[in-house]
């Protein structure tokens, strides 16, 4: 759900010690953009604290959220590897702080630093795996199942998402989201007054399991 990457932070630590001049710090306020779709990447950002969303804006104006970034997550690396403009936007959901690394330095490190290369390779593999799995089940299972899954995952972490973000993550309209939430409220699976307060994680886990069995 929210991805994090602690190992990358240790590499940043190394850089801070040995190449402090290469590591910038940059804060963003909630709502601010860090990365703009289609633009060339000039800096790689690594999340130090806070929460961001990574999303693609389609030509009809709708957004699709690919992932949420937490501590240690990196953005821009994919684009430096493919050499293209940015695949997606990244926007701060909460206020956040980041480490900032020049593209040229990062690219050079990627070529020379075995540990970093290994880490980024694993990172890409994990993202690909998770993106593929989500593309599959999100399209194949009914909305209600995906929503429950999302609520379950987001209840594990603090995470207070707006309806807009939930809808964009699930690739549905807000109206459909409201319908599904109402249905869950009627069945006492989620709290009547706040849509992301789940009545009990145990109950939710059970509902998910029943789904798995039925399907």
């Amino acid at each position: 759900m929210i991805r994090t990457n602690p190992k990358l932070l240790t590499i940043i630590d190394n850089w801070l010690q040995n190449r402090p001049e290469e590591i910038g710090h940059r804060s963003f306020t909630a709502g601010e953009r860090l990365v703009f779709q289609d633009e060339q990447i000039r800096f790689v950002y690594i999340m130090q604290s806070g929460l961001a969303k990574c999303f693609i804006t389609e030509e009809n104006g709708r957004d699709y959220i690919l992932e949420f970034f937490g501590e240690g997550e990196i953005m821009g690396e994919l684009e430096l590897i493919t050499g293209k403009g940015s695949l997606s936007n990244v926007a701060a959901i909460t206020d956040l702080t980041t480490f900032r690394v020049r593209a040229a330095f990062f690219t050079a490190e990627l070529a020379g630093n075995r540990e970093l290369a290994q880490l980024i390779m694993e990172q890409l593999a994990i993202r690909l795996e998770q993106t593929a799995m989500r593309a599959s089940y999100q399209q194949i299972y009914p909305l209600e199942y995906n929503l429950l899954k999302l609520l379950y995952l987001s209840s594990e972490q603090e995470l207070q998402l707006s309806k807009r973000d939930i809808a964009d993550y699930l690739a549905i309209s807000i109206r459909s989201l409201n319908r599904a939430l109402k249905e869950l409220r009627n069945r006492n699976i989620i709290n009547p007054d706040s849509y992301n307060a789940i009545i009990s994680r145990e109950q939710l886990a059970q509902v998910l399991q029943e789904f798995d069995r039925l399907i």
Copy 2:
């Protein structure tokens, strides 16, 4: 649409010259499985000729096709990097021939062979990019648009897909696919008698553009 990776074949050539004992050959007949979801990977296969599909089978029995593999495409590398069982199945669509490499050898090469590591990293990046883009537009745009796009792309290559495969790629039922095809036939966008013979590529390109404009 169908991915290929010519560069990887040159690395295979190198291996064939210098480490011929490490490179096996294996043929598969149409329909045969090369890779089984959730199973541990023991060999990496690289496509030499033919066409294969890579797909996830969900617990309800429905398949989602992630990509089609053509010449030079590799399978199993992601799993060797993450160390998990296979993300997906791979099945031969046509008869095909492959190069086969032991997992241990491939992993060792990945650690020691800079050129290979670079290539695999690019490969992962491209797959991630394309998977993410498809997840986004396939969920956000209407079926008809996605179908047209698929027909357009598949007309660029030879590629004669079964209805089952088209439906699994678009994550829809065959019934919905039939409806959409009928609609396109009525509008003289595709050939009345064979569903993947497009009347004219120019016309199709134009329809797609109109879509883009409307949206």
